[in-house]
Symmetry: C2
Subunit: 117 residues, 2 copies
């Protein structure tokens, strides 16, 4: 599967085709990190950044922060908070979701979103 770094680099390069302000250096400067660090992150030389930095990066690139966080193997603290509030319930939900086939999860999400479950 696509790594965090590859995904970020692809997004940034795509934006750069229309706007030269999306260089490693300038994006790094806008999100508040060193250019060499962002370069290493994009090439997967170091682990993905902190949740805070991923948030700024998502914002800057116009991407969904939850998607970037997931690619980084993290779960947003928002979600962690939701889970932490009802441990047993989520333990049950998680166990079911782990067993469910892909198609079932897709359908579940859709139905929850549409409110017809």
């Amino acid at each position: 599967m696509q790594s965090f770094g590859d995904y970020v680099r692809a997004c940034r390069e795509r934006l750069r085709e229309e706007d030269p302000r999306f260089s490693v250096r300038q994006v790094a400067h806008r999100i508040g990190v060193e250019p060499s660090y962002l370069s290493k992150v994009e090439r997967g030389e170091v682990a993905p950044p902190s949740e805070t930095t991923i948030g700024k990066l998502a914002d800057e690139l116009g991407e969904d922060a939850d998607v970037l966080l997931a690619l980084a193997g993290k779960v947003s603290s928002d979600l962690q908070e939701v889970i932490r509030k009802r441990p047993e319930l989520f333990a049950a939900l998680i166990r079911e979701l782990k067993r469910m086939p892909d198609k079932a999860v897709v359908q579940l999400v859709r139905e929850v979103r549409d409110g017809n479950w």
Copy 2:
């Protein structure tokens, strides 16, 4: 809400009423940590242990590891893996779940478990 430490201590003390082998010392020894460390964990003097140690503790106390992990403010790497595989879908599901009232979540979990959604 009940903290991780309080919960663990309550579980352990309950077991201890019927079996003196559930002292801080002996439990600590069986899960492979120092007694002083487990003591501090139970009293909330230090942050909850690593996922690995929480797993052993759950096992030892006959508790659900996902519940203990949730109380520790963590999400199991199992769940993280599930989420990482379908980032956008889970982003959507999470956003809905954040808005749902308690009763709705309870019902959703039950219906998912029973397979009638």
